[in-house]
């Protein structure tokens, strides 16, 4: 009977849309062996979903399960229900633990305006901003305006606009505007995988900056964000290789979906992310506005071009290498997905990417536990695998709960012996309330009183998440590499800077 608010979504990005199957072959032109130019091995990549060992493990598990269901159907079903209940309880507990640590820990790295502006131009490191875009001619104007607001010395800043070779529409749009001097257009050669992480790797290969970050074309970063990140990196120890800025939405008031989405981000960045940092758990990065030390990023192998949430995967690789991620108190405004179908597609890709990430990093579970610790591993599993799997499982338990309340069939009762029934009931009733209340608390903490209705109606959003999760799980089996296209420009909100002449 336990149903849980499917948890917080991956803070991932809106990639350049693309809906092609990714061929297995390597892209020509990458100089060194491995999946990326930076030596990412096949073992570390989602190029193949399951490794040989994992395939055998899955086969073995299936055999055990089928045998058990055949020989002792009730016993096996009860065991499954008990395991699911335990997972739900653990997920709720871990989430509340995160909120607790998130509210009491030091939280984000603070760099005041004065501190950010105090650094002389010569003291600032060279910075590369990667802006991947694919078939998004309408956002090029916004990009120019958004870049114009960034406060960073011209000779220290390099913006690489990454376009696919065959993307005629965007290339045409770029040709029509006067790009600021520090923007370079890079054409990602055609002929291999065509994903955002692949484009970013191409950009990284030519990047001259000491620090690197990614923005989407329509992102509106805090103008001082690069300076804040640079100051933060100077201040933080060398093993902090990534600072993640907070993401928020400029169109959160557009409709209920965008309000839910905004509330989800508020919860994520106000409570859960600081909580994960405090708990020293691996942090799945958000798709944009993560600022990285370029050398460390190259040393880690760059982004996995085959993972549909390459950001989450990179966060994990950072933790596995014994390196750290911190949260930066600076906000980037993005466009929230406002359309139901479009939202489900985007979310299902995130969930699929989360599962890919969990699978990739579980090829050597013992080695992983040794590097991130058992607590970190459990946190990683609960967040990265638990989020999509429990969301996908929710409809089953919702159904059982409804059937139980309506008709109390003996078969459902038999699935829940006392020691499972009471925890499941507590989880179902108190867990759901706790999650709604946590949303309310997060909205209050962020002084986002406009998200009140979203907080109170959050369960409807969980239903949407479940839809996306089911789709993600099915797709992971049938089309592991299929990249769901996310449509942008649905906000109807005129970005403040659209069409403004560029000057830097």
């Amino acid at each position: 009977m336990s149903m849980l608010p499917p948890s917080r979504p991956p803070a991932s990005s809106k990639e350049p849309a693309l809906s092609v199957s990714i061929p297995g072959q390597r892209r020509a032109g990458l100089p060194s062996p491995g999946i990326t130019a930076f030596g990412l091995t096949e073992d570390e990549s989602a190029v193949r979903t399951l490794s040989r060992g994992q395939r055998w493990a899955l086969v073995g598990l299936t055999v055990v399960l089928v045998t058990a269901l055949a020989l002792r159907p009730m016993g096996a079903a009860r065991t499954l229900v008990a395991v699911a209940t335990l997972a739900y309880l653990a997920a709720v507990a871990y989430r509340l633990l995160c909120v607790r640590h998130g509210t009491s820990s030091a939280g984000a790295v603070q760099v005041s305006d004065a501190e950010a502006l105090a650094l002389a131009d010569d003291e600032l490191p060279a910075y590369t901003v990667l802006v991947p875009a694919y078939r998004e001619p309408e956002v090029i104007g916004q990009l120019v305006g958004n870049l114009g607001r960034i406060d960073y010395p011209e000779h220290k800043l390099e913006v690489l606009l990454l376009l696919e070779e065959d993307d005629d529409v965007t290339r045409a749009a770029v040709a029509e505007v006067a790009l600021p001097a520090q923007v370079r257009v890079l054409l990602v050669p055609d002929g291999g995988v065509r994903t955002k992480p692949n484009a970013c790797n191409w950009g990284l290969l030519q990047a001259g900056g000491e620090l690197v970050t990614i923005y989407d074309a329509e992102d509106q970063p805090d103008p001082l964000q690069l300076r804040r990140a640079a100051v933060a990196f100077r201040r933080l120890p060398a093993d902090v290789v990534c600072v993640q800025a907070r993401l928020s939405y400029f169109n959160s008031g557009q409709n209920l979906i965008t309000r839910w989405f905004a509330l989800e981000y508020v919860t994520w960045f106000e409570h859960l992310l600081p909580g994960l940092v405090a708990l020293k758990a691996p942090i799945p990065l958000g798709g944009t506005s993560n600022h990285l030390r370029a050398a460390a990023l190259k040393g880690l192998g760059g982004w996995d071009p085959y993972n549909v949430t390459e950001d989450a995967d990179l966060g994990l690789r950072i933790a596995r290498a014994g390196l750290k991620t911190e949260v930066l108190a600076s906000v980037t405004l993005e466009e929230a997905n406002s359309d139901f179908v479009n939202w489900v597609k985007q979310r299902s890709r995130w969930y699929k990417g989360y599962l890919q990430t969990w699978i990739v990093h579980n090829r050597h579970p013992l080695r992983l536990i040794r590097t991130v610790g058992l607590k970190g591993y459990l946190g990683f599993t609960l967040f990265v695998a638990g989020t999509p799997l429990l969301a996908a499982l929710n409809p089953v338990f919702w159904y059982l709960a409804i059937v139980w309340f309506v008709a109390e069939p003996a078969a459902v009762g038999a699935l829940f012996p006392g020691f499972v029934y009471y925890p499941a009931m507590v989880c179902f009733v108190a867990g759901n309330f706790a999650m709604i209340y946590a949303g309310l608390v997060s909205a209050r903490a962020a002084k986002r009183h406009d998200l009140l209705l979203a907080a109170l109606t959050f369960p409807a959003y969980w239903v949407m998440m479940s839809l996306a999760a089911v789709k993600a799980v099915v797709q992971l089996v049938l089309q592991p590499s299929y990249w769901e296209k996310t449509t942008h420009g649905l906000s109807g909100v005129e970005a403040a800077s659209t069409g403004k002449a560029a000057h830097v």
């Binding site: 030091a106 509106q220 928020s248 309340f405 706790a434 209340y437 309310l440």
Partner: protein, 580 residues
Amino acid sequence: MSETLTRSAEDGPAVLRRDTLEVRRSPAPGAEPSPSAEPRSGRPSRREPLALWTAFFAAYAGLGAVLVLHFDSIVLDAMSRVANGSLVVSSADPHLAAVGFVWNPLPSLAAIPLLLCKGVFPELATKAFAGNLLSAACMAACVAVLAGLLRDAGLRRGSRLALAVAFGLTPMIAYYGANGMSEAYLLLAQLVALRALLRWSRTRHWPALVTVGFALGVGYLARYEAAVSAAAASALVAVTVFLTAEGSASARRRAALTDTLLVAAPVGFVVALWAGLSWLIVGEPFAQFSSAYGNSSQVAQQGADAEAAFSLDRVATSTVQLLALQPLLALLVVVSLVIGVRRRQLALLAPSVLLVPVLGFELLAYLTATTFGWLRFYIATIPLAFVLAGLLLAQVRRQPRSAEHRQGYARPARLAVAGLVVAAVVAPFGTQAMAVESDEVAAEEAPQFDLVFHPETAAAERMERRFENEREIAAYLDAQQLPDQSVLVDNATGYAIVLASKRPHQFMVTTDRQFPEALRTLGANDVQFVLAVPNEQLGRSNAVNVAYPSFFADGAGIGTLAREWAANSDQPAWRLYAVK
């Protein structure tokens, strides 16, 4: 959760200003509010509350042990709560819903872990001593929380300890700490909520509202009155935030709604949960009010001689009771409200706002003849008076000599307030001691005190015999070595028998899921005996009497009389009928 949430300080999270794309952030999380915002004296330490709790727990538990184990002074309601908890674990059909829905479940559920130790210490169950330990723990916590609340208010160590200790020693507080009743749970919830509400009143530290909501939500699981406090607290928050927030009217309305929900949501959730469960399982969402076993029904059943609603007698009784608990309460409330309004200090209004409505609710329920005129229903007057006394003391003490003259209090005013505080602390010792001697004012407490102090009176002798029959019945049945579920009894009247029995599985009790069927087919099933009480007063709601009105008198054609125990105390006569 609530505790941790309140720990985070006024760390305004990053606030994004759309117009400037600027991020503003107030001081780092974890930073305490400035001292001027929240006066504290002495360093926060865990030693003081822990020492207070330990000392008072030992004192209350000791007093409880003397009352229960030595004098057999057992309070009916306290025992029935423990009995409900016992049904969950040691009955022939153990299940959680057996805790029952007429009375809120927390005192019963909390007793369960202690009841598991009854093998070592049988009196935990047979004399319901588990309840006494729990009320002692809660009331001792009240003392510790009150001391903390007074420290938050800026009272120095000497005066806050004096007030807290005096509170803990007040006769009614000490007695209700020792006697196993649920009053201690309610007072604890209210004091925790009040402390957080005062913190919010002074600093607008919003996470404190989470504590208010959760404290009263948990409190509701012990007593319905917590919902009244929650409604009052919600109203206070709503009005205050709406009047003081920044922005347009709609922005202020939203801000007020959010903060109000922080308080109201946990309580609303618990109310809905409890009502929903009750409705699903027994078919009545608010069984205490609607059930045949509930208060209103009890009043109706016992109330042949009851006064009409709003009679002069009722007004007089409740007035005397309120005065007996704290003769100076009205004065304290008025003075604090006047100073609070004149000096614009919300903290001076908050205690009255939270607790006066509870007194009003109890008063109204009694005046309209829907509940009993028990003294304990007004017990909130005691903490209210002590909190107000403490806050007023902090008021007149706060201004140092050098402070701006306009802000300070004239010497006569300070002396008057100090005098009021001392009188308010001392007076209840006298008035409460007098009240518990009077059957009119303290109808429940007076017989218990007679038992201890006037054992020769008829009333005391009746009290001493309370549950004597029940223990004898239990021993008699235990000796028969009967099979499981072979003795049918309504545990609302027979809880003392079931609790006293060493073989509780032999009973078929109301909460067993097989009970309705067993009662319907009495004589044609495995039930061998039925325990019956006269079909009068509270016995009219007894399930056996409801199904077979003449059962006690003649066995209703099913049973043959096996044994009889005549009434010798305030408990009913019992007859044991064989039905097979």
